[in-house]
Subunit: 236 residues, 2 copies
C-alpha cells in the first residue's frame, strides 16, 4: 500500500503522524478492506463538532444557544467538509474497492467528507485533543473568514423573510404555478412575489418546499443586484 | 447569591473550580438572570458527546460506527443526564425565577439534564479537555457498568424481534384491538402475539407505534420471567 506519498498530505494538514497507520486507516473505504475509516469517522465527527462549538462560543459572545447550534450545523455539514477535502486533495490518497472506483467514488462528496472526519479522529488518537484542535481551527480558517452568523445555516425563505422584515416590507407570497411529471417524479414550479418591491421570481423543485426555497434564493440574488433601489424590477 | 455552599457540589464532581463564577453560571436558569447556563450547555453538550464517543471507541473495539452512534445516543439522552443530576443533587443548587420555581422547575428533567451539560462546559472553560474528560468518565462509570451495547438505545420492538430471531422463532404479530378517545387524544390498544411461545401481551399508547412498543416491552418482561421455558404461558 504505497500510492502517493503521505508526506504531502501531512504537510497540507500541518501535522505529522507518529503512527502513520492511523492516517492510512482514515483513507481506506470499506469497499477496499475490512479495517476502514468508519470508526475513526465516528470519533472525528465528535471532536469536530466540539471544536467548532468551542470556536463559535469564543468568537460570538453575544449570540444565543439556538443560533450557535444553527451556525455549527452549517459548518460541519457535508458541503463544508467536502470543500476542505478538495483543498487537501483527498482523492489522490483514497483507497477504494474496484466497484466504488468505477462508480466515481473518488469524487463522491459523502466519501470525501467522511474521510476528513476520519483524519480528525486519527489525529486525536495519535496526539490528543490540543493537536487535533489546532489542525481543525487552521483548516476551518477560510470558512470562518466567510462566516456571517446571522445567515449561516438559514434557509433562503427564512433569510428573505428576515431581510424584508428589517426594511418593514410584507412577507413574500408563494404560489404553485405548475406541476409536471409522473407521480413519484413530480416537478413543482412556484412563484415568489414581493409586491412592495415589484419583484417576482420563479423556482422549481421536486417538492413544493424546495421550489419555494429556490424561488426565494433567486429573489435574494435579485435584491443583492439592486441593493439601494426599492423600485420596480420585474422578472419575466 | 450564597445559597447552599458550592463546595459539596464540587466534592461530588471530583473537581474544584479556579473560577467559581463559571460553576455559578452553569446553575442559573434563564428565568433567574440574563446571564444563564444556555451557552455553557451548548459547549458542554459538545464535549460530552465527544468524550462518550471516545469512551465507546476504546471500550468496544469490534462494533461498527452505526452501533456506536446508537449507544452514544442512549448515553447522552435526557434520562441519563437526569440520573447524574439527581446523584449530584443539582436541585439544591439551582437558581430559578419565581414562575419556574412555582411550576416545579427544580424537578424538571429537562432543566436538570441541561445543567449537567452546562457544568461540563464550565469545567472545560476552567481547566481544559483533560479535566472535563476525567469528570465525565467518572460520573458515567455507573452507566457504563450497566451498559449492554447490543441493547442500549434499541426500542423494545427491535429488541424483541432480535431476541426471537436468535432462537429462530417467527416475528411477533401486532394487532390493534381497541381505539378510544376523541380525535386528538386517542388511545390505541395493541396486542402482541408470539405464537410459537404461546405468549400474548397488550400495550396502550397515544399512537399505534407507542402501543406496539409497550406491548413488546411487556412481552420481554414476560420472557425474562420464564427464561428457560419455551412452553405455553398465556396472558389474559
Amino acid at each position: 500500500m504505497t500510492k502517493v506519498s503521505l508526506s504531502r498530505l501531512q504537510a497540507k494538514l500541518g501535522y505529522s503522524f507518529t503512527e502513520l497507520a492511523l492516517l492510512r486507516q482514515a483513507l481506506i473505504h470499506r469497499s477496499y478492506a475490512a479495517t476502514h475509516y468508519e470508526r475513526l469517522e465516528f470519533l472525528g465527527d465528535g471532536v469536530l463538532n466540539f471544536v467548532i462549538a468551542h470556536c463559535l462560543y469564543q468568537r460570538f459572545s453575544d449570540i444565543k444557544e439556538g443560533e450557535l447550534s444553527r451556525v455549527r450545523a452549517h459548518l460541519v455539514k457535508q458541503d463544508a467538509l467536502e470543500s476542505i477535502a478538495r483543498r487537501l486533495k483527498i482523492s489522490d490518497y483514497l483507497y477504494l474497492g474496484e466497484g466504488e472506483l468505477r462508480s466515481g467514488g473518488l469524487e463522491r462528496p459523502s466519501i470525501l467528507a467522511d474521510v476528513v472526519e476520519a483524519i480528525f479522529g486519527a489525529i486525536f488518537l495519535d496526539a490528543g485533543f490540543d493537536a487535533v484542535q489546532k489542525v481543525i481551527v487552521s483548516l476551518y480558517q477560510p470558512l470562518f473568514d466567510d462566516l456571517d452568523p446571522n445567515k449561516a445555516g438559514k434557509d433562503p425563505k427564512t433569510q428573505l423573510q428576515e431581510r424584508l422584515q428589517a426594511i418593514k416590507i410584507a412577507v413574500p407570497k408563494y404560489d404553485i404555478i405548475d406541476t409536471s411529471g409522473a407521480a413519484h417524479e413530480q416537478v413543482f414550479t412556484v412563484s415568489c412575489v414581493i409586491e412592495a418591491l415589484a419583484v417576482r421570481t420563479e423556482g422549481a423543485g421536486s417538492t413544493r418546499r424546495l421550489a419555494e426555497q429556490n424561488a426565494a434564493h433567486t429573489a435574494m440574488l435579485l435584491l443583492d443586484a439592486q441593493p439601494a433601489k426599492k423600485s420596480a424590477k420585474q422578472l419575466k
